[in-house]
C-alpha cells in the first residue's frame, strides 16, 4: 500500500513480535526483537530501569546550531515528541504446582475468565505447551452444561502426572501466553497480543527513517497492570508532547445497535477523545485530525469513556505533557487471537508520520 511519502509498515516486525511472549513484567523477548530492529536506525538506545526500550532519533536535517545547550528548544527543529507503544500483553502467571501435576495460575492484566477453558498456552522461557483443562461434554453433568467454570477453579495442564514431573518443565512465577501463531489472508491478519504489538510495530516502522522532528520512541512495559512503564519513561524523557500508539478494541458486536458498533476494523486509525485515563489534548488532537484530512487518511473515533492507555500517565507526568492516542482497531483483543486489517496499520504509520511534519511547522 502506498503511504504517500511516509515509511512503509513493516509487517515482518508485527509477525515476529506478535509470536513472541511478553506478559507484563516479562517483556524480554519482545524487547530483544525490537532492539534488533531499532539498533541501526536510531541515535541512541537504552533499556530504562523499568525495562522499557527507549530510542532517540534526531530529525533528517540537522540545522545549524544543533549543538545549543540542552533544555532550550532549538528553533526550526520542532517539538521533541515521545512516541510510545507498550510491549506487554495480558497472560497468565503460574502460582502453584499441585501434587497431581496441575498448575494453578493467576491472570495478569484483563482477561475475561469465560474465554479461558480449553485454551492452549505456552509457558515460560522454554515455551512449554499447556492447556487449560476443560471436561469433554460427555463428562459434564447435565446441570452444569450452561455454566462457566470460575476463574479460581481453572488450572493449566502440561500433561504431567505429578508435581515432580511438572516442576521439571515449569516453575512458579513463569508466565503463560496464548498459543497462537501469526497468519494472514487478504488484508486481514490474525495473531495474539495485537494490543499492543500493533502499536509497537507501527512505531518500529516509523523509525526506519529519520523523522521530521526529534523523536524519542518508547516501547514501554507493564501497561496492562497499571500504565507503569510509561509513567517512569515519561519522567526521564521529558518530551514536549506525546502520541501513544495502541491496538484498541473494535466496537463491532452482533446484537447491539449499529450506531453503537464503532470503531470498525478496516476503517482507519481510531482517535481518542477521552478515556478513563486521558482527556486528549485538544490542540494536538486537532493537529492529528487536520493532518488526516490533508493526507486523506480515514480516521474514526474510539468510543469515549472506556479503557485507559499510557497516554493518561504521560499527560500528567512532570509539569504536564500534551498527549493523544492513535490506535489500530483490532477485533478480539485480550483473547487468544485478534484480527487487524494491515491497511489500518499502514494508515497509522502514514498518519503519525505526516502529523510529525505538521507539528514541526505548527507547534507550538
Amino acid at each position: 500500500m502506498n503511504g504517500n511519502g511516509a515509511p512503509r509498515f513493516q509487517e515482518g516486525i508485527l509477525e515476529a513480535i506478535s509470536n513472541a511472549p511478553g506478559v507484563s513484567g516479562g517483556e524480554e523477548a519482545v524487547r530483544a526483537i525490537l532492539t534488533e530492529v531499532a539498533r541501526e536506525r536510531v541515535d541512541s538506545l537504552e533499556v530504562d530501569p523499568m525495562g522499557s526500550l527507549v530510542a532517540r532519533i534526531e530529525p533528517a536535517t540537522r540545522p545549524r546550531g544543533a549543538g545549543k545547550p540542552r533544555g532550550a528548544r532549538r528553533a526550526g527543529r520542532g517539538p521533541h515528541v515521545m512516541l510510545c507503544a507498550h510491549m506487554d500483553e495480558v497472560g497468565l502467571m503460574v502460582t502453584a504446582v499441585e501434587k497431581e501435576g496441575r498448575l494453578r495460575f493467576r491472570r495478569v492484566g484483563g482477561i475475561d475468565p469465560r474465554i479461558l477453558p480449553g485454551q492452549a498456552f505456552r509457558i515460560g522461557p522454554r515455551a512449554v505447551p499447556g492447556v487449560i483443562g476443560a471436561l469433554p461434554p460427555h463428562l459434564v453433568p447435565r446441570a452444569d452444561r450452561d455454566k462457566v467454570t470460575l476463574a479460581e477453579d481453572l488450572y493449566l495442564d502440561i500433561g504431567a502426572g505429578s508435581r515432580e514431573e511438572a516442576e521439571e518443565q515449569v516453575s512458579v512465577g513463569e508466565y503463560a501466553v496464548f498459543d497462537t501463531t501469526y497468519e494472514g489472508w487478504g488484508t486481514t491478519r490474525k495473531g495474539k497480543a495485537f494490543d499492543d504489538r500493533a502499536g509497537c510495530a507501527v512505531l518500529a516502522s516509523l523509525i526506519q527513517r529519520r523523522p521530521p522532528v526529534p523523536v524519542t520512541a518508547v516501547w514501554s512495559v507493564q501497561e496492562e497492570v497499571g500504565l507503569r512503564g510509561a509513567a517512569a519513561a515519561a519522567r526521564r524523557v521529558g518530551p514536549d508532547l506525546a502520541i501513544v500508539l495502541e491496538g484498541t478494541a473494535s466496537g463491532e458486536a452482533p446484537g447491539s445497535p449499529p450506531e453503537e458498533q464503532y470503531p470498525f476494523m478496516g476503517r482507519g486509525p481510531a482517535l481518542t477523545i477521552q478515556d478513563r485515563s486521558l482527556m486528549a489534548h485538544a490542540r494536538l488532537l486537532d493537529s492529528i485530525q487536520t493532518t488526516a484530512k490533508r493526507h486523506r487518511v480515514p480516521t474514526q473515533w474510539k468510543r469515549p469513556g472506556v479503557g485507559g492507555t499510557d497516554a493518561g500517565r504521560i499527560a500528567i507526568s512532570g509539569a504536564g505533557v500534551p498527549s493523544a492516542v492513535v490506535s489500530v482497531v483490532c477485533r478480539y483483543i485480550h483473547a487468544p487471537a485478534a484480527y487487524l486489517d494491515v491497511r489500518d496499520a499502514q494508515r497509522a504509520v502514514t498518519l503519525i508520520w505526516h502529523t510529525l511534519e505538521t507539528l514541526r511547522k505548527e507547534w507550538p
Binding site: 450506531e259 477523545i273 482527556m279 469515549p304 512532570g318
Partner: protein, 341 residues
C-alpha cells in the same frame, strides 16, 4: 471596604458560574478568568490547560489553587431518533443531570433527559446509560451536527436566593471567585504568590498534580467546596458557619505548618471556621500534597449543599468569609515548621 467586595462577587460569581469548562475542555472559564485577571500579574496557560497567575514577591513560594473545571457530558453516539447518548465526565451521578440545560461546545444546546422505566411504579436508580440529550435538531440533522466526543457543560447562571447563592457549577466556581476577589488589588502580600486555576480536577486532580510539580511551592493552600453530609467530623458541616478547614480526605492529611498558617490567618481576620473530615473522596489537596518530595498543604473548603438536580447552594456569608480568609493567608508570612514535613 466590605461593600465593594461583596458587589464584586455579585457580578463575578454569575459570570464564572455559567462559563463553559468541563474537565479537559476548560475554554470558557479560562477565558473568563483571564479577563478578570487583567493587570493582576503574569498570566499563562500550561500543557494541561491550567491557568497560572504569578504575583512575584519576596518570601516563600505560596501556591493558592482552586479547580476551575466542572462536570461535563461527552457524546458517545447519536441514536437514529436523534437523541444523543452521553457518558459523564467527572464525579457526578446521573440523577444530578436530569433536567439540566447543557451547552455543547457553544455549537448547540440540549436538555438532559433519561429513559424512564416503562412501569411507573418501578423506582430504580438512574444509570448514566439512561441519560440522553435532546437537542431539538431534526432527526436527520442531529447525527451530522453532533459528533461523537462533543463535550457538554451545564449551562446555568448563579443567582441570589435570599442569603444563598443558587446555581450550577458553583463547585468550584465559588472557589475561583473567592480567589479572584482575594488577590485582586490586595496589598501586603507576604509571599511569592502563584495562583493556579486547575484543570481536570474532576478526572482525578490531574491539573493540580502537574501545576504543583511545575511550581514546586514551599507551601500550598487548596480551595474547593465541601458538601453538607460529607464530613464525619465533630458534627457535619453547615452553611453559614464559615469556611471549612480540611483535616482529612482520602489519601490526604494536612501539613501542620500549612494548617497553622491558615488557622493564624483565620484568627487574625476573625473568620469563623468549621472542620472537614472526609472519609472517602477528596479535592486536589492529595495531589498537591504528594507532589515531588511532598508539599506542605492545607485545604480550605466553602460549605455547599446539593438539594438534588444540577444546582448547588452556598451561603453568601461563607463566600465572603472565605475571601477574608484567603486575603489573610496571602498577607500572613509562612514561617514553616521546624522538623520534618
Amino acid at each position: 471596604m466590605a461593600v465593594s467586595r461583596s458587589s464584586h462577587l455579585d457580578s463575578l460569581l454569575p459570570a464564572l458560574s455559567e462559563a463553559y469548562g468541563p474537565p479537559g475542555r476548560e475554554t470558557g472559564i479560562r477565558a473568563a478568568l483571564k479577563r478578570a485577571l487583567k493587570g493582576a500579574g503574569l498570566v499563562r496557560e500550561d500543557a494541561l490547560g491550567n491557568l497560572h497567575l504569578h504575583i512575584a514577591g519576596k518570601g516563600p513560594r505560596l501556591l493558592l489553587t482552586a479547580h476551575m473545571d466542572a462536570p461535563g457530558l461527552i457524546v458517545t453516539r447519536v441514536d437514529p431518533s436523534g437523541l444523543a447518548r452521553v457518558s459523564i465526565l467527572g464525579q457526578t451521578s446521573a440523577v444530578d443531570w436530569v433536567g439540566a440545560t447543557v451547552t455543547l461546545d457553544g455549537t448547540a444546546r440540549g436538555v438532559v433527559g433519561w429513559d424512564r422505566p416503562k412501569d411507573p411504579k418501578e423506582t430504580r436508580e438512574i444509570e448514566p446509560e439512561a441519560l440522553y440529550l435532546e437537542t431539538g435538531l431534526r432527526q436527520r440533522q442531529a447525527p451530522k451536527r453532533i459528533e461523537v466526543g462533543t463535550v457538554g457543560a451545564l449551562l446555568d447562571r448563579a443567582e441570589r436566593l435570599g442569603e444563598l447563592w443558587h446555581g450550577g457549577n458553583l463547585d468550584n466556581r465559588a472557589g475561583c471567585a473567592a480567589i479572584l476577589a482575594a488577590v485582586r488589588g490586595t496589598r501586603g502580600i507576604r509571599s511569592d504568590l502563584h495562583v493556579v486555576f486547575s484543570a481536570q480536577s474532576d478526572l482525578g486532580a490531574r491539573g493540580a498534580a502537574t501545576s504543583a510539580f511545575g511550581i514546586d511551592p514551599d507551601v500550598a493552600v487548596v480551595l474547593d467546596v465541601a458538601f453538607v453530609g460529607e464530613s464525619r467530623g465533630p458534627g457535619d458541616i453547615a452553611l453559614g458557619k464559615g469556611p471549612c478547614l480540611g483535616l482529612k480526605e482520602e489519601g490526604y492529611l494536612p501539613h501542620p505548618a500549612a494548617l497553622a498558617l491558615v488557622k493564624r490567618a483565620a484568627k487574625a481576620a476573625r473568620v469563623p471556621h468549621q472542620w472537614l473530615i472526609r472519609e472517602s473522596g477528596g479535592s486536589d489537596a492529595r495531589a498537591v500534597r504528594a507532589s515531588r518530595s511532598g508539599v506542605p498543604t492545607a485545604l480550605v473548603a466553602i460549605p455547599a449543599r446539593r438539594p438534588g438536580g444540577p444546582r448547588v447552594l452556598i451561603h453568601a456569608s461563607d463566600l465572603e468569609e472565605t475571601v477574608k480568609l484567603l486575603r489573610g493567608i496571602v498577607t500572613t508570612p509562612y514561617t514553616g515548621e521546624k522538623g520534618s514535613r
